[in-house]
Symmetry: C2
Subunit: 206 residues, 2 copies
DNA sequence: GCGTTTCGGTACGCCGACGTATCGATGAGT
DNA sequence: ACTCATCGATACGTCGGCGTACCGAAACGC
């Protein structure tokens, strides 16, 4: 009965009226992820997030039961593939474009990944959220790009280098800050793809 | 006077007589690093280490002022290059052997690295110790291997793929557990080197 | 406009870990 | 054999963050 709920965010939920707008919620998410990137997961305090968003700690706990659930929700909200819409018809160009996009997000993503590295050991929900936010979308998109290149016949399906490309790109993105102390900016990653990835696929430039 | 100290570990240090033998100390170091690998840095407790080594918490604090200093000391003690003695005269064989060695240590090293990822944000000494224990020795050794290959003329000095090889290997070692959920065992890494690294150097097998 | 719900602010209890202090026991050096 | 520093054990103080409870105030539904 009374199933005639016009168009609320929740179809049912009769008396649900949180004053937290989606924009406000996103502020919370942005704040907590920023703190995580800055100080690491364990150093983030609910009090700190509340202060930086000028809300009450109680307000945060009304929306999310615990701190890991809060962070996991923030991760899920930030889920987005950096590779969407890449489909130029050329595998080499697609890989270059993916490299550019990955490099553009590398600084933020790497810090987040590094900061959560240990926290996901203890909370499976956090681990799943991190995978779904930062890893799976990009890896899947990258595999799509490669698959299309194979289907177009640009590279042999049994090229042994194919299976390592996602791990290579992901790995180099995360490795450069550690080894050289500076972020893997787009120029670096594009150059890496051109120097070390395309050749193994037989996609050498003219 | 009485400068005739035969062959103690400390030449002077008149009344220094700690009962902690070097072997015992190494037990402490092994225990704390094992706990770090298992639960992450912040979850490690001095009490837990003391319990697992059947020593007193006070004993640990007598040797090391604080927990980060203790962990840093453990890291420094574990410093060792996994690539020592690799010099077969063939760059391809050297890289294969380095890959085998890196793969053999990958599981332990990656867990340690991941677990300390956030802790090094806050403690510079810890960061330095981690670099000197897990990163610099292997990267330096790898660069040596590559340099010798260049000097022997096996690969051109201006090959653009050269500069990315350390980051590639380090990155793939750390990336596979994340992407595929299993450690980068030696077989995997050797196959990676053969499929994706050697070709970029023009070292294709017959 | 009025009631009710949620908001921001804050004070509180709780717990766990750090790091210190104390105490008998033990083992090394003379 | 004697002495004394160090050992293992444990109890304690301290601190900080989690999560809860309570308060006036503001905003939404009717």
């Amino acid at each position: 009965m009374t199933s005639q709920a016009a168009d609320g965010p929740e179809t049912v939920a009769a008396t649900r009226r949180s004053k937290i707008t989606p924009e406000r919620e996103q502020e919370f998410f942005d704040a907590v992820l920023e703190q995580v990137r800055a100080c690491g997961y364990d150093s983030v305090t609910m009090e700190g997030v509340a202060a930086s968003t000028r809300c009450s700690k109680a307000t945060l706990y009304r929306q999310w039961k615990t701190k890991p659930q809060f962070v996991a929700a923030a991760l899920r909200a930030s889920r987005q593939s950096r590779f969407d819409g890449i489909d130029s018809g050329s595998l080499a160009d697609d890989l270059r474009e993916a490299a550019r996009a990955a490099g553009a997000w590398s600084a933020k993503d790497t810090r987040l990944f590094q900061a959560l590295g240990h926290a996901v050991m203890e909370d499976p929900e956090l681990k799943k959220a991190l995978r779904e936010a930062l890893i799976d979308p990009e890896i899947d998109a990258l595999r799509q790009i490669l698959r299309r290149g194979v289907e177009r016949g640009e590279v042999a399906a049994d090229n042994p280098a194919l299976e390592y490309i996602p791990a290579q790109i992901f790995g180099v993105l995360r490795a450069r800050p550690v080894l050289e102390g500076e972020d893997a900016d787009p120029e670096y990653i594009v150059r890496f793809v051109e120097a070390a990835v395309l050749p193994t696929l037989g996609l050498t430039e003219t």
